[in-house]
Structure formats: C-alpha cells, structure tokens
Symmetry: C2
C-alpha cells in the first residue's frame, strides 16, 4: 500500500482525530475584512483574463513592486497556476529547467507534464551551492528559485541571490522566483529577486490564509511573458474567480502589523517543533522561513504510512520533494496539536526502534 | 492593426457605449439563492482537489447522470480547465485530436500548447458529416464533440451522435463531449453522449450565468481518467475556489422551471437576431441551441475591426473558430441592445457596400 502514497490522498482530509502535519495550510483564519464584502456582492460576469484592475493596481503600489504598474501582473488560480502558465509560456518541449533540491513536489510533475526536462542542483543544508549552480544552469532555459523554501524552510543568502541575479542576466536565462513565503520569514526581510529576467510568483494563500479561495499572481517586467501568459490563460482557464479576487483586494488593505503579528505566532511554533524534533533525536535543519521542517527518518515510506494508519498523523514523504531519506512536517497548526503530534511521533519511533 | 485582433482584447470590456456581441456571457443574473449563502460564509482552507463532496453528490443525483456517484466528477475552474486537464490526461505529445469545424476558438491553441495535433472534420451547415468523420477519426487518440455548438449554435442529430458513440467505442477512441450548452437548446432535449469511452464537460457558467465565478466539471466512468485528472490538477491549480463551488452547490437546488424560463428568453432573442440578420441580407444557419450566430460577411477582419473602432460593436472573427469567411455574434444581451447593435451593423454594411 505504501507504494500508492501521494499528496492528493491527504489534501482536504479533515477531522478532529487526525493531526495533520501534511498540507501547507495556515490554520488561523484570514483577516475578517476579506469576508466583510460578501453580503453585498452581486457580480457574476467574466472578468479580465489578466485579473481585476483594482487588485492589480493595489499590488503595483506595494513597496516591493515599487515603480511597477498594473500591466506587470497576472492574477491566477493560486501560485500553482501562475507557475504552470509561466513554465508553459517560457519553455518549449525538451527545454531544461533548473531546480534546487529539495524542491516543492509539484514543480517536477508540472515540468514533465509539458515535456520540459528538470535538471537539479544540490544544496548544502538546504542552501544553494553557487559553484554547482553555475555549472548546471548554463544549458537551461530557466531556473526556479524558491526562498523561503517549501519543504526545507531555509532562506537563501542574499549574497547567493545577488550572484544568481547577475549570472542569469548575463546568460539571458529567466529566473522564476517562487516567493509565496516572502512574508513568513524569521531571520531578515525577504530579498526579492529582481530585474528584467525575473518572473516573481506569489499568492494570498500563505500570508492571508486564503488557500481554498485560490488567488495567486505573477509579476514580471518582461512584456512578452505577460502577454504570452494571458494568451495561455484565455484558453486554459479564463479569469480567476472574480469573487476570490475581490476578497484578495480587501486583503491588500490589511495593515502590515497583521503580518508581523502572524510571524510571531509562526516563530513560536517553529521553535516548538524544531526543539521537539531535536529532543526526539531527529536530524534536521533549522527553518528560517515558511512553516515546514524536513527531518531525516528511517524507512520514510513505512513512517508516513504507519503514522497515518496507526497514529492518525499526516506527514509527507521526503521523496516527493527530492529528499528520499526525510519526511516533511508542516507546523501550520496550534502548539497543542503540534505537541500531541510529537507525542504520537515519539510513540511511533519507540515502536520501531 | 487588424492583424493583432484576438479574443483576449475584448474579454472583460464593459461600458454602456459598447454593444458587445463578443464574449459568450449571459447578461441576466444568476438565481438569487447563489448569493444568499455569502453573508455567513467563513471557509478558507484548501478543499479536495477533486471538488467539494456536497457539489459532486448533488451532480451525481441529477437525471442525466443517473447511476453515477460523486467519484465520477472533478470540479474545475470552468469548462476551460476541465478541457485542458482532460486533453493532458489522455494524450501524449504528437497524439491526434479530431475537431468538427467550425470549433470553439480555445480548442486548437489548447491542443497545440501541449503538442497534440488537431485534425479536422468538415461539417455541412454545421452538422457533422459522418462519412468524413469516420475517415478522419481512425488514427486519432480522442475526438471533441460540441453540441449545441459554440460558435454555430447548431445541434448534432441524435442519429449521428449514436453512430459516433458506437464507432468510438468499437475503435477504443475517447469522446470528449463539451455539453456546456446542454440546457440552452430550442429544438429538443439534449442528447447526452454516454458510455465508458465518454468524458462529459460541463459548467455552471451558461445555465446559471456564473461565468466570472469559474465553476465547471468533468464527468467520466473511466476511473483512470478521473484519477489522472486529479493528479494533474494537484500540481497545476489545486482545488477550485471553495466559495465559488458553494455557490454552484446552491445552483444545483434551483428548480427546473428556472431553466425553462431562461430558454424562453433565449429563444426570443434567437428569433430576433436571426430574422434581423436575414433582413440585412446576411447568409447564416439557424441556431438550434447556445446563443451564437455565425453569419458570412465580406472582409471579416475589416468588419470586426471597424465595427469595434467606429461603431463600438464587439464581434468575434470567424477565423478564430475555423470559419474564415464569417463573424460570430453572441446574442446574450437584451433585445433592445440587439436591436441597437443590428442598427450599427446595418450602418457599417451600408458604408462598405
């Protein structure tokens, strides 16, 4: 049965008896104001394929997109669709895409699905090894950077990111920068990769806990990429839900303090699970952002399967992320539940030791 | 400038001075009950990739899906995503897909985008020529049937549909049946293609005027296709907006009379525009379903461009639909506006005659 393990079997499973370290979904609700617009909402017609103007305007006025305008954004069904469309807009079948390991599990099937060839650069404790990166990137069409990273929780050094920016600009290689965890970062402010060669992927799912409503976006100064993504989206899904977009627009008005307060909660949980797993004797890297840990474990397939079936604890297999000797735990749940989950994990570890 | 004409330049354009025969979007609002659930809505977590259970259960209990269960459905970001995922689940690069001409404009770029090869069967006044179909289908991986048709408004004969069902079953070729206009049909009840080889595509956009909210679905008895589509969707967009799905679920409770009353309105408009265009001397087929007409016109590119720029009338170029000597008009607007649009069209025709 373990052979059949896949992320889709866990997504959406809810129930009080389960402790889910699985899907990366905040448990705290979105800011209340995103729901406040609902009672009077009566729109129903197709929206612009590129996304609603109010939302794109609001994004263009945010600090990190200084100097941009609404035409540099496309609103999508979550960051997932933004990524799928960006890959399909940039690459032709056979083109190579560079990923750093461990990687978010959807990247590879997404690339293969469109007959693009994934190429990998190894990391050292989750940090990009620039020399290896330099070697591997040269015959790639584009490169995917994900910092803070799902599944490692690691944040790439600013120095490395700047070297990557320069190298890719020199080589005319597009950087697709998945920064969906840009606001959930514990060690410094996010460094946003930028320049004419960069496509930034982002989302309202993590910062504002709006996963199920599916609003993501891409940002680029490359007019051709924006045009081509819109052309694709016209055929493959049309506009993103206009109501979800209106809720996302409300989220753009939420004061920065909201995010700061959220980060404090995440950091406490991070400390709790990091120390807890260390106490259980597991080998892991300290997360610097996002809400995942990726400890080593013996027989990971048995672990994920038995934790699920016997102990009602959902974890994800490291293999899906290119880390076959590890499992991923999301700590997007309250400390009491993390504690209960760690107890069950301890029980499992004792049984199998 | 006419060279740059594309559907995406018109979608979402709204304004009182324009008469839009462009996008296929009902002007009448959705049933009020779909909005009634909004004030108390507070969900925000990821939903099941396959779609919410209440919605899939409700669909499985509808007459046309008799004997089905919730596992035979996947809820998608409109019919567009259902189509894109179904093609990608069934075909490999190089596989041939058969389309009948004229076709909905997204089919072809959607197929080419994934390196599938579109193959065409001609129609006679919009009706499938079974002999030609039989010849062309034999080396195809799957075939797309769209009845009632966008852009022709034509409905395929039941006899032809039954022959297609049998032939494709014998040849082990999948039929993808795009029936998004199944409820907007003037000449008889819809005949739903069925059998283990059929994937039915449908949507809440047309029947319930919910275009902008993006809820479509696919239905199939082929467990492998359902599984593969879910696997793809896990990576390319995850769940469809849970709030849009909840609104669609409300729509499933709307009594059948609502649809019957809608059809009466559409039929009046159909008669009005069909007679109006005939009076202007245009050559066209009588629509039997959906809400489009596809008249012949001289210099279609000039017509679409000048109608838009000079007369503020949006029409679509027949070329996008594989009908280069025609233009498409959607009559999803009230009779007064259709009348005004026809006046402007008359003016244009006089200017150019």
């Amino acid at each position: 049965m373990q052979e059949k393990l896949s992320p889709s079997m866990f997504i959406g499973i809810q129930g009080d008896d389960y402790i889910s370290f699985g899907s990366g979904q905040p448990d705290l609700p979105p800011p209340e104001r995103v729901f406040k617009i609902l009672p009077d909402y009566r729109q129903f017609k197709y929206g612009l394929i590129q996304g609603q103007e109010n939302l794109r305007n609001a994004l263009s006025k945010q600090n990190q997109f200084k100097g941009s305008d609404k035409d540099s954004f496309v609103i999508t069904n979550g960051a997932s669709e933004a990524l799928d469309l960006t890959f399909r807009a940039i690459c032709k079948p056979g083109d190579k895409i560079l990923f750093h390991k461990p990687y978010y599990y959807s990247y590879i099937p997404m690339a293969k699905l469109s007959s693009f060839e994934p190429v990998f650069t190894e990391t050292i404790k989750g940090k990009i090894d620039f020399d290896d990166f330099d070697k591997k990137v040269r015959d790639c069409k584009c490169v995917l950077i994900n910092s803070p990273s799902n599944p490692t929780g690691r944040v790439q050094d600013v120095n490395t990111l700047k070297k990557i920016e320069k190298l890719c600009a020199d080589l005319d290689i597009t950087i697709i920068s998945d920064e969906v965890y840009k606001d959930l970062i514990y060690i410094r402010e996010n460094y946003m990769l930028s320049g004419p060669h960069v496509v930034t992927i982002n989302s309202f799912s993590k910062t504002f806990a709006m996963c199920g409503l599916r609003v993501g976006y891409l940002y680029s100064n490359d007019k051709k990429i924006i045009h081509d993504v819109i052309e694709l989206k016209t055929h493959t899904s049309m506009n993103t839900s206009i109501l979800s977009q209106e809720m996302a627009y409300e989220a753009t008005k939420v004061p920065r303090e909201y995010i700061k307060d959220q980060v404090k909660i995440w950091e406490k949980r991070r400390d709790f699970i990091y120390e807890g797993l260390q106490k259980l004797g597991l080998d892991l890297w300290k997360p610097e952002g996002a809400f995942y840990v990726l400890p080593k474990i013996d027989n990971p397939k048995d672990a994920v399967w038995n934790l699920f079936k016997k102990h009602k604890v959902i974890t994800y297999l490291g293999e899906w992320f290119g880390a076959p000797d590890r499992i991923r735990l999301s700590y997007a749940l309250d400390v009491e539940k993390i504690e209960e989950g760690l107890k069950r994990l301890e029980k499992y570890l004792k049984e199998t030791s």
